[in-house]
Structure formats: structure tokens, C-alpha cells
């Protein structure tokens, strides 16, 4: 569907990257500038708004009392949902989440879950019966590429900002009391996404770069620098050597991002 003009531009992007340059003057290993605003939504138990270049994502956290899964009776529950709201892009349409939104929410979910970022044991109220359920809702407000990293950054920032209601147990019933306790956190994972065109790797793809790249790799790192989640996307492939290069590029980027974030 792309018009002639955009096809010419996409060719330029491709050519520049093959020569090791980018149309927005960034280096291949350079992230776009970002900003984080925590607590923008007072009615949510936690929230954060992240701007990454022109990409903008709002994450709101709701914490409610629910039932645990049968196989983890002593752990609270976290669910992640993503909405590509139609005002974020002319290509987003109203309706239930499609493939792209579901993949996005599941990548963010895995980064948080596998790093054990939330101390879910502390979310248990009555073992096997009542636990806190943490709803992470990702709301994409403007799409300009790399929704994965922006959403992951917003989700972790919102969790850091989340408070749970104080409660007491009376006859197996949970009574909500005045006051709050911060959500217990163990770790602050960082997700880094890179794109690949032919044999060139580049960090933090923008929207137009996403349209021409062969494939994508997203890697989540724990605070200790371990890999905790990964997802390859796109129709291209990585050779074993490219994968090695991608891993080390992502790892050094995650380290410098962590310094900037002060997590």
C-alpha cells in the first residue's frame, strides 16, 4: 500500500543502513532520547508515561483482590494487556487486540515475569483463596516505532510507582483499610530491541526502519545482566555469528540504558 514517495524513502533508509548510517543521523548503536513521567494517572494504583522519540506509551496499573492459580496458591497474579488505540496511528483500527498487540503484551509480560520483578509471594493474602491481582495495561498513544522497548520501560516504571491498599482479614474476608504499601519489587528488567537489514544490526528501530527491516530481536535483561526473555520477529533470519553480535550489542545497550535510567 505504500505510495511511490514512501517507497523511495524506504529504499533510502535501507541503503543508508547498509552503509552504516541512519536517516535520522543516529549511529547504528544509538538509542533515541526518552523521558518518563510517573504517576500521571492518579486514579490508577500506578502509572507511567514514556516518550521514546515520538513514540508515546502510557501504562496504568490496577491492583485488585482475586483468586490465585491452582498451581501457585501462594503467589499473586500479574496480567499484561496491550491496546494499540486507534488515535496512535492511522493504521490502528478499533476492535479487540490483534496479533501485534497480543505479541507486544506477551513480550512485556515475559520480561517482567521471568526476571521475577514482582515479589508475587508478598501479594498472597489467604493462601489458595485470595491474592492481589496486578493488571498492567499498556496504552499506545503514538506509534513511531519500537513499541516493545517503550512499553517495557513504561510497564516497569509504572510498577515501581504502584501502591497496594492496606487490608486486614476478618472471617476469611479481605477488608480494605486506609493507606497504601508500595508494590514489592525484586528486579527492574530492561528490554532492548534491535533490527536487522541484510547483515547490519541497529538499536531502537524507528517506524520507517521497522517497515524495511528484515527481522527484529528483543532481549530482556535482569539487573544482574542475565538474559531473562527473548523474542525474534519479522520474516528474516539471524546467522549464529549475527546472533552473537546482536547479543553483545543488546547487552552493552542495556547497561548504558540502566545507567541513564538509574535503575
Amino acid at each position: 500500500m505504500s505510495s511511490l514517495l514512501t517507497r523511495v524513502k524506504l529504499q533510502q533508509i535501507k541503503k543508508a543502513i547498509e552503509e552504516g548510517k541512519r536517516l535520522d543521523q543516529r549511529n547504528l548503536n544509538e538509542y533515541r532520547a526518552f523521558s518518563i513521567e510517573q504517576g500521571a494517572i492518579e486514579k490508577a494504583e500506578g502509572s507511567a508515561r514514556v516518550k521514546l522519540g515520538k513514540t508515546e506509551v502510557l501504562v496504568g496499573i490496577k491492583v485488585e483482590v482475586g483468586t490465585p492459580y491452582a498451581d501457585t496458591p501462594n503467589n499473586g497474579v500479574m496480567t499484561v494487556n496491550a491496546e494499540l488505540v486507534p488515535l496512535a496511528s492511522s493504521t490502528f483500527e478499533p476492535g479487540p487486540p490483534g496479533d501485534e498487540a497480543i505479541e507486544l503484551s506477551r513480550i512485556v509480560d515475559r520480561g517482567i515475569r521471568e526476571s521475577e520483578a514482582i515479589d508475587t509471594e508478598k501479594l498472597c493474602i489467604i493462601p489458595g483463596k485470595k491474592v492481589f491481582v496486578v493488571f498492567v495495561d499498556i496504552y499506545v498513544l503514538n506509534h513511531d516505532g519500537n513499541l516493545i522497548d517503550a512499553s517495557a520501560m513504561a510497564a516497569v516504571s509504572a510498577l515501581m510507582n504502584t501502591k497496594m491498599h492496606n487490608y486486614e482479614i476478618v472471617d476469611e474476608e479481605v477488608i480494605i483499610k486506609q493507606g497504601y504499601t508500595p508494590l514489592p519489587m525484586n528486579d527492574f528488567p530492561i528490554t532492548v530491541t534491535l533490527g536487522k537489514i541484510v547483515d547490519k544490526l541497529f538499536i531502537d528501530p524507528g517506524l520507517e526502519e521497522e517497515e524495511v527491516m528484515d527481522s527484529r530481536l528483543s532481549i530482556a535483561f535482569t539487573g544482574k545482566g542475565e538474559i531473562c526473555a527473548m523474542q525474534k520477529g519479522g520474516s528474516g533470519y539471524f546467522t549464529a555469528e549475527q546472533l552473537k553480535e546482536a547479543m553483545s550489542l543488546a547487552q552493552s545497550t542495556a547497561e548504558s540504558q540502566r545507567k541513564k535510567l538509574k535503575w
Partner: protein, 246 residues
């Protein structure tokens, strides 16, 4: 969770947030904040935080909905799951579907739809935080989004509610007043044409009280209208300044 207050208006005649019965909440509006939309607006009306984005005029999909003699305007009102105290399922509710329709009906009279045959315009409204009166604040923002998209209009549409709390007619109800109060009358209005484009009511009012409610609601609309116009002008002032710098 919290105890419900018994009185919404205290002995000094002030409401829970310190407002007088005929006083608006604070209203803040920014225009043109969504880079990917053709027109957009963000409104903070009290604790309501709402984004509106307009796309079009563009080719109408699906094609069988095209109209040979006019543009088709579509509106979608949607609440974020974290916008309310209890998480709201992201699937559209019956309430959201109804509001989408009445918001569209409130905006349509303002738009010169006959100028753009066979096209479609979509207005997407996302409520990021709700605190009573979201349909009104949505209309105020949505009409700015349409104007910002360059769609010719007869007037901006502005909306505000009035209602009855503690036996008194009050302007611009917040959530708790809407829930405990006895009546709510949202009104959308085109001040230049003196035309009411949305009118709903629930609760009980005498005819006289109703007339009074509509009068103070349109009064509230006129106040917001000034803020609306300023917000629209502000965007284009910024552009002018940028051009001067160049």
C-alpha cells in the same frame, strides 16, 4: 471503600471540592498533541483526562458505508482500563457504544459534511482518567480535534453538565456528585448559533429546575468555549513563532 459523605454541599454553600454551586472545575486544553493524527486535542477537565484524535477526510472503509453526497463521521468513545477505580475491561461496553453515538450526534450539526462526499472522518476518544462528565469533556476535545484537522465547521461544539445535588441545581458535576446526586443534565452547545446538539438527563427534576439546569449548563459551556478558542489559537501562534525564527 471510603465512607460516602452525607452532604454534598456544606453549610457555607460550598461543594466537596470547595466549589460554589455555579462554579466550573478547572479546564485545561492543548491542541495538536498527537503527531500521527490529522487533528487532536487533550483536555483536563477537573480530574478527567481525555485525548481525542481525528483522522480524515480520507477514503471511507468499508466502501459500502460511503455516502455519495456527504462525508461519514464516525466517533469512538473508549475508556482506558485504568481510568476508573475498578479496572474496566478494554472491550467496549453498552455504555461506551451509546456515548459514541450521542457524541457523534452532538458533533454532526457543526460539520459541513456535504463538502466532502464519499469520504470518512474518524474521531477516536480515549478517556485516560474519568471523574464524572467524561462525555461532555470528550465532546469539547473532539470538536477541537476536528477543527485542528482542518475540517470546516459552523462552530466549535462545547459541552458541560448541570445537575441537582442536595436539592440545589449545580454546574459541572464530578463523579461523586453524579453518583449520589439526584439528577444530571449533560448539554452540548454551539454558542455562536445558540444551538443545543446534545441533551440527556437522568434523575428527577421539576420543569422549572430543568430549565434552570439547562440555563446554567449553557452558561458553563460559554465559559469553556473561551478556553477552547484560546487553545486552538495557541497552537497556531506557536507555528507562527517558529516561522519567524526561520
Amino acid at each position: 471503600m471510603n465512607e460516602k459523605p452525607k452532604k454534598l454541599i456544606n453549610t457555607k454553600g460550598l461543594r466537596l471540592d470547595g466549589r460554589k454551586p455555579n462554579e466550573l472545575r478547572s479546564v485545561k486544553i492543548d491542541v495538536g498533541i498527537l503527531p500521527n493524527a490529522d487533528g487532536s486535542a487533550y483536555i483536563e477537565h477537573g480530574k478527567n483526562k481525555i485525548l481525542a484524535g481525528a483522522f480524515g477526510p480520507r477514503e471511507m472503509h468499508p466502501k459500502h458505508l460511503q455516502q455519495a453526497d456527504r462525508m461519514v463521521l464516525r466517533c469512538r468513545y473508549h475508556m482506558a482500563p485504568f481510568s476508573v477505580p475498578e479496572r474496566k475491561s478494554p472491550a467496549p461496553s453498552r455504555r461506551e457504544n451509546e456515548l459514541s453515538k450521542v457524541i457523534r450526534d452532538a458533533l454532526l450539526p457543526a460539520v459541513f459534511i456535504e463538502n466532502y462526499p464519499r469520504t470518512g472522518v474518524d474521531v477516536f476518544i480515549e478517556v485516560l482518567q474519568a471523574d464524572g462528565g467524561t462525555r461532555c469533556a470528550s465532546i469539547t476535545a473532539a470538536s477541537l480535534a476536528l477543527a485542528d484537522a482542518g475540517i470546516p465547521m459552523r462552530d466549535l461544539v462545547v459541552a458541560c453538565a448541570a445537575g441537582k445535588v442536595d436539592n440545589k441545581i449545580a454546574l459541572d458535576l464530578m463523579d461523586i456528585e453524579d453518583k449520589i446526586g439526584t439528577a444530571d443534565v449533560p448539554v452540548a452547545y454551539m454558542p455562536n448559533l445558540n444551538a443545543i446538539t446534545l441533551l440527556q438527563m437522568d434523575g428527577k427534576l421539576s420543569l422549572k429546575e430543568f430549565e434552570n439546569a439547562v440555563e446554567i449548563a449553557t452558561g458553563g459551556c460559554k465559559q469553556i468555549y473561551e478556553i477552547q478558542k484560546e487553545a486552538l489559537k495557541k497552537k497556531y501562534e506557536i507555528i507562527e513563532q517558529e516561522e519567524e525564527v526561520e
